[in-house]
Every structure is written in C-alpha cells, then in structure tokens.
Point group: C2
Chain length 446, copies 2
C-alpha cells in the first residue's frame, strides 16, 4: 500500500481567516454553538480525517471589538464531540504552565475512555503575560523555564497514566476481591515544579495515554518534540523550509533514541478551493477586502514587539527588528513573519493580507487538482507526513476540501476511502500502543 497521508482538521470559529465572520454566510455566534462543531466534526469524519484539533489559551484575547471572541473550553467541547462522532481523533490543547498534572491527566484519561481511545493532547507552555496574570503570576515565566516545567509535567503525567497496569482488575465477586493493588504504582514524584504522591484514580485507558502532540518550533520546542511528541503541527512558508524542518525534527527524534517514524510532521495549510484557479484567487480577495487594516497593524505591532503606531501600511517592515533570541514566546512565529515579509518584499498592508488567512500558515489556492498537487508534492518530497487543514472559512472551506480535494487524494491512493474497523487515534497515525513503564520487562517509555 502507498504511504498514507494523515489529515487533521484544525477547527476555529467561523474559519482561520480573521475576517471570515463578516461574510454573509457566517454565524457570528458559531464559535460557542455546539451544533457548529458537531457539523464540522461530522464533515471531517466524512473526509476520513485522522483527527480534529482545537487551539487554546486561558485568557480572553483583546479582540472583542474586532471578531468573535471567547470559546468553549476544548476538553469540554471535545468530550461532547466524542459522543457525536465514531472514528475521528480528538486533540485538545492544554497548558503545562497553568494546569496541575493530576487534574489534567484525569481529564485526558477520562476523554480517552469515553471516546474509545481517540484522545490527543496538544501540549503548550502558553506564552504571554495575560495568561500568567489569570493564575496569580505578575508576568509570564521565561521561555526556558516554561519548557523545563513542561518536561517535568510530562514525566509526571506519564507516570500517572501508567500508574494502573492494564490487568489490575480481578473482579472475583465470590471472594470479594475487585483488583490487585500490587499492580497500582503511585508516582511518589518529588521534583522542581511538582510533588505528586498517589496513583491516578482512572484505570489505564484504551491508548494508555493520549496521543502527544506539540506545535512549538523554537529550539526549546523542537527539543521537547524530539523527546515526547508523536505528532507536530508547524507553520512553514516554503517547500524548502518545510523539508529542512522535517529532516531536522526526524534526526533530532532519532538522536533522542526514538524511531523517527514515531513522530509525524503536519504543516498547517489554508486550502482555498475553486472550480478554477481564478475563482479561488477571487475568494481570497473577498476575504482580504474584509480585513480591518487598523486591527491588523495593531496585531502585527504586538507580534513584533513594536510600540503602537510604529508601522505604516504602505511601507515595508522596519529594518532594525530584534533577533529571535530577544523574543519571549511565539519565537518561531516571529521569525516566520519577518522572513516572509523580507523574502517577498511585502508592504505592511500586503503582509497583513497574507497573515489574515492563516496567521503565518501557507495558503494552497487553486482547483482541487492544484491543491492536491501541492499536498502530494510536500508529502512525497520529504516535507510532511500529512497536513493540518486550516480552512479560511468554516464550515464552507471544510466542505469544499472534503467534497473536492479529498476525492482527488483518494483517487491517487494517498488517503483511505473509509475508516474500516474502529481504531484508536494512535492506530490511525500508525503508531504502537505504548508499553507501561511499570510493567516488568517492558522498555522504558522515554
């Protein structure tokens, strides 16, 4: 069988384009309506996607005046979606900086059981002072400290998820013995950031633990991914950059003593599908025309750490921007934006147009065959194991992708035509169920 493409649907409000909510078709309340997400999840399942994904940050963005703001908390929403779907994986973002391992491990274990082994965790360290100030901190912790805490968080969570061996339950009703307490392993963890004594109060789950996903592309982020991640979401603007990122991450994974095929790389793309290329370009232009440039300038100034009213719409970026090393958080996004502007000699207005669609992710616009061509090229030329699909407008952009691009990918033998028997999320991605670190003779997990 041909190597198979992995597809993840990144669901966000009325779409990834910041102006999508202004289109006549869009429901400005969709982002807090369960039915909106149920519809999207079922469409993604119709397209035999591996998984769907929700981003998250524990703060209200300063955007209420500009576009739909607020959200349903991802683990809660995905649990509701678990009961409305049957096959698709469910990946929730959750922060290692603003959760405790015991609580979060319980929630993911519960979702994994309820969904029949379809839970995934997009591990984030959460940049920004706004989030920090919602959790008793005066400022955000330093980048390196956030990653150190994340690594310890993972180690504790993995111990908790393994704290029940798979065969604890005896269920001897006659003797009145339910389980074998010798097969329960309290972590007894004492570390820098956490002390966690007792075993989890959820039995080991269908997958053992959720699929571990990561999306930071900074140096710290890549080191973390090589050690823990089974899937990586990334923003890459050119085939060459994507190939370099792919090769680098696979070799880091091997260097960490892991099978490089045990980590799947999924660049984010914004597919814009038309019956002709011109039609696709026209749809892009309609969205660009709905951008409020004043908001775009303010957002860009924030991303580039510039004072308000520094940027001019029809001029290029200033030439004296600081290097990535001077930036705290969203480091790789910073570099991507600066390099995009310089490589393509974009004005601020043009840059805002390019970023409005996918916040730095690449747009593949054209006919279904052209979009499929671009996907196949990246997939077969060492740039991707699959893609994180980020439609500019939802639900219409996901409908278009599933109705028109998916059939082309299937005809080329790159994507399953049906799900077949029920599988866990990890099985969909072709990954083995992890052994339990406490089971005698089993190999160590990490």
């Amino acid at each position: 069988m041909t190597r198979q493409l992995h597809l993840n649907a990144f669901l966000m409000n009325t779409g990834h384009h910041e102006a999508s909510w202004r289109l006549p078709e869009s429901d400005p309340h969709a982002h807090v309506r369960l039915e909106h997400y149920v519809g999207l999840a079922r469409t993604a399942e119709r397209g035999t996607f591996d998984s769907l994904f929700l981003a998250d940050g524990p703060q209200l963005w300063n955007s209420v005046g500009q576009r739909p703001s607020g959200a349903l908390e991802p683990l809660t929403l995905l649990t509701a979606l678990a009961t409305a779907t049957r096959h698709i994986g469910l990946i929730a973002t959750a922060s290692t900086s603003y959760n405790s391992p015991y609580n979060l491990a319980r929630k993911f274990a519960s979702l994994d059981i309820i969904s029949g082994g379809r839970a995934g965790w997009n591990i984030v360290t959460t940049a920004g002072a706004d989030a920090a100030r919602n959790f008793g901190l005066a400022a955000e912790p330093a980048h390196a400290e956030r990653y150190a805490r994340a690594a310890e968080f993972l180690d504790v969570a993995l111990k908790l998820w393994d704290s029940w061996e798979d065969d604890v339950v005896v269920a001897d009703k006659a003797a009145g013995v339910w389980g074998d307490a010798a097969k329960i392993h309290p972590p007894r963890h004492r570390g820098t950031y956490f002390s966690v004594e007792g075993a989890l109060n959820v039995p080991r789950t269908p997958q053992g633990y959720p699929l571990l996903v990561q999306a930071g592309s900074s140096e710290d982020g890549k080191r973390f991914a090589a050690r823990y991640a089974e899937a990586v979401f990334t923003a890459q603007q050119t085939l060459q950059d994507a190939q370099a990122f792919y090769a680098d991450l696979k070799s880091r994974t091997a260097a960490a003593g892991r099978d490089p095929d045990g980590l799947k790389v999924l660049p984010g793309i914004v597919p814009v599908v038309g019956s002709t290329e011109a039609e696709a370009r026209a749809a892009e232009r309609v969205l660009e025309e709905h951008i409020v440039h004043r908001h775009g300038v303010a957002h860009l100034e924030g991303l580039l750490r510039l004072p308000p009213d520094t940027l001019e719409l029809d001029a290029p970026l200033p030439s004296d921007l600081p290097p990535e090393s001077a930036i705290e958080g969203a480091k790789s996004r910073y570099t991507l934006v600066v390099e995009l502007a310089r490589r393509e000699r974009l004005t601020v207005r043009q840059l805002i147009g390019r970023l409005g669609g996918g916040r730095g992710h690449l747009t593949f616009a054209g006919t279904p065959e052209q979009v499929a061509d671009a996907i196949e090229t990246w997939f077969t030329r060492g740039a991707a194991d699959g893609f994180n699909i980020m439609p500019a407008v939802l639900p219409s952009g996901l409908d278009a992708f599933v109705d028109h691009v998916v059939p082309v990918l299937r005809a080329r033998g790159l994507l399953r035509t049906e799900y077949g028997p029920r599988q866990t999320l990890r099985e969909r991605y072709g990954l083995p169920r992890p052994a339990n670190q406490y089971t005698a003779g089993a190999p160590a997990l990490v």
Copy 2:
C-alpha cells in the same frame, strides 16, 4: 399547584452499597463505562428528576482490593451525558482547594452552554492528606483555611462568570465590529489565595453560572451554604434531626440576607423497594451478607481516627472517642456515625451493616407506598425540599424507584408528570436567573 418535590439522582458505580458490585447482576467495570451512566441518566429523565449528581475526590481511594475503584472525571462524564439527555440537570463535584478559579469557571461555563443551561457545581473543599499530596502539599490544609479559600474562590468565580454582560455581542458585519468591549469586566482580583486579572474567555451562559450546590454540614459548611448555596445535600438519620437541620439552614440563609426559599435542602436517602415490606428487607439482608467485615472495620477505624485493629466486631464503639471539634474534615459524617451507633446501641458489626448501604444516609425500605409515605412525611413536615436519591444497587435500584415510587409520588401531585418545555437547571429548582453584578442598577449577587 401543590408544592413540588425536587429529586436528584446520585449516581455512583454499581450502587451506593459497598457490596453492590458483588451481586450477580452487577458489571464490575460499569463505573468506567459511559453506557452505564447514559442508561442511568435516561432512567432518571424517565422519572422526571430535576438533576443527577456525581461525587468526586482527586485521589485514588485505598480500596482497589475491595471494590470497583477509580472513576471517570465528573465534568468530563457529565459533558458526555449532556449530549445523551435533554432535560435533566447535571451536577459535578469539583474542589476549591485543588483547582484554579479561571480553569474551573471556564469548564462549568462551557458545560452550561453545551447543555443548554443544565450545569450545577457541588462545591467541595476536599478533606484528607491523600488529595493534598497529589497537589504538592505535605498535609491537608486546616478545615477553616479550606473554607476561607473556598469563599474567595467563589467570589472570583462569580466575577469571572459575570465578566461578560449578557449583551456584549453587536455582530455588525458591515462595520467589522463584533462586540462591545465596554461590557467586558475583568475581575482584577487580588486576594489572599488568588490573583486573577482578566475576564473569562467564555461568554455569559444560559444560567449566568452553574447552580451552586454544597454538602458540608459542619459549622463552616453551613455558614458557607447560607451565603452561597442554592441546593444542599445532607445526611440526616431521623426526621427530628432533619427538621432541625432544615430550620437552622433556612434561618441562616435569611440571616445572610437571602430568600430562604432560594436554598433547597435535599437529604440523601437510600430507597429499597419491594413488592412487600418483607421483600425489601430481604433485599437489604442480601447486600449485608456480601459485606466483607474486615474492610468495614478498617474503614470505620479510619473515619473515627482510631489505630488499626482497635475495634471489635461484636462490641459497641469505644466510649472515649474525641469530640467533633478535634476532627479535621468530614466532621459532620463523624458525628452522624457516632450518634447513630450510640442512639441505636449498635455493635460494630451492626453499624457496618447500616453504613454499608449509604455511608450514613437513611434507608427508606418497604413497598412503593411506604417509601412514598416516608418521602411525603419528610417533605410536608419541614425536613426537606426534595431528596438526593442514592440507590443501593445500580441500575436496578434506580429502575425500581422510577418504575414504582415515582408513579405514586405523581399520583399524589408531588412530582411533575412530564418535563414540559426545556428549562434550565435553576428553573427546574424554581430559582431565578441571577443578575449580573456588573450591570448598572442590578442588585449585588451575594
């Protein structure tokens, strides 16, 4: 219309009797099977219950060898149940000691939106060192400190739930203006236990915030309930005690400046239904015969803070037990058990038999008419606004209650015969939607 009874179904594993899992009919894996809970929720909805409820503690009880252990995390499980039901309220236990207000407020707000206004929060402060040691503490915080933190937690959570006024959304697509940022109110809270700066990232919900439920019956617990709670679960062994508790809590609520009818008192009862009284008593005896007394003694020694192997099965409790004031956590449970043993002159063996069924809650055993009589007596004689129904065996005990006792209660005009139009949980309990504390002219919340 006759004053209406409120019924809550307290769902626990294969039943509230500790030996229920040993019956031939019981599934020893039921407690981690979604279908088990979906079946129970639908039965409760068939019985037009107001709500269902899940207890919780963030630790694994030391009981793996004895009975089904571990659980699905309540907020996760209730979210799944929200999509499988239509009318019934969904009350999750969550701890103020081991959560952060921002995270928990988001989750309850999300569940309230997803369920169409059916979320409730059973507020607990979580006694015990085992839980504390899963969250970086060496020992449990003192009782009074846990309640001080709980009060501040509630104040912050109420600010977060009110941080969006109801009419934030403008949705002016032509102007590119989504919401009115002036109607967002960041809490900017700086307190003893919490600092929370920003507004919640979930809009105000159908109920404004979840129904606030509480179950601690200690002095601190009653003070807290009088200030915040809209429903109280309690364990009372005699009509006289229940009347005294009811009157005391209502007068404390009035003294706190609230309408006493704005707090509903629901004693827990274990209904054991037979076609004759003898059949009900026989069902009780079968369960008692399945109790492993060795485990019961150990549990009782823990509850009474006695060293292991202190108690003798066929002797009464020691006469020199400490007073409640010397006990940390589960204070009212301690007193209830000691008083029950002394009042009825029970041996340890008899006491364990009485506690095995409902851990201190009262059993109403008999024919459907006899159970309905007891309910009606308590309800009409100032002891209860409704009941927390705790079947000894699940699902069979809930089936029996709904099939045989509910029709009697309906025939007496005490319980709705159908749900009628969709209502929020708070509406089911006959309580008004709270005003937003930030809306000009609205009365203060608490």
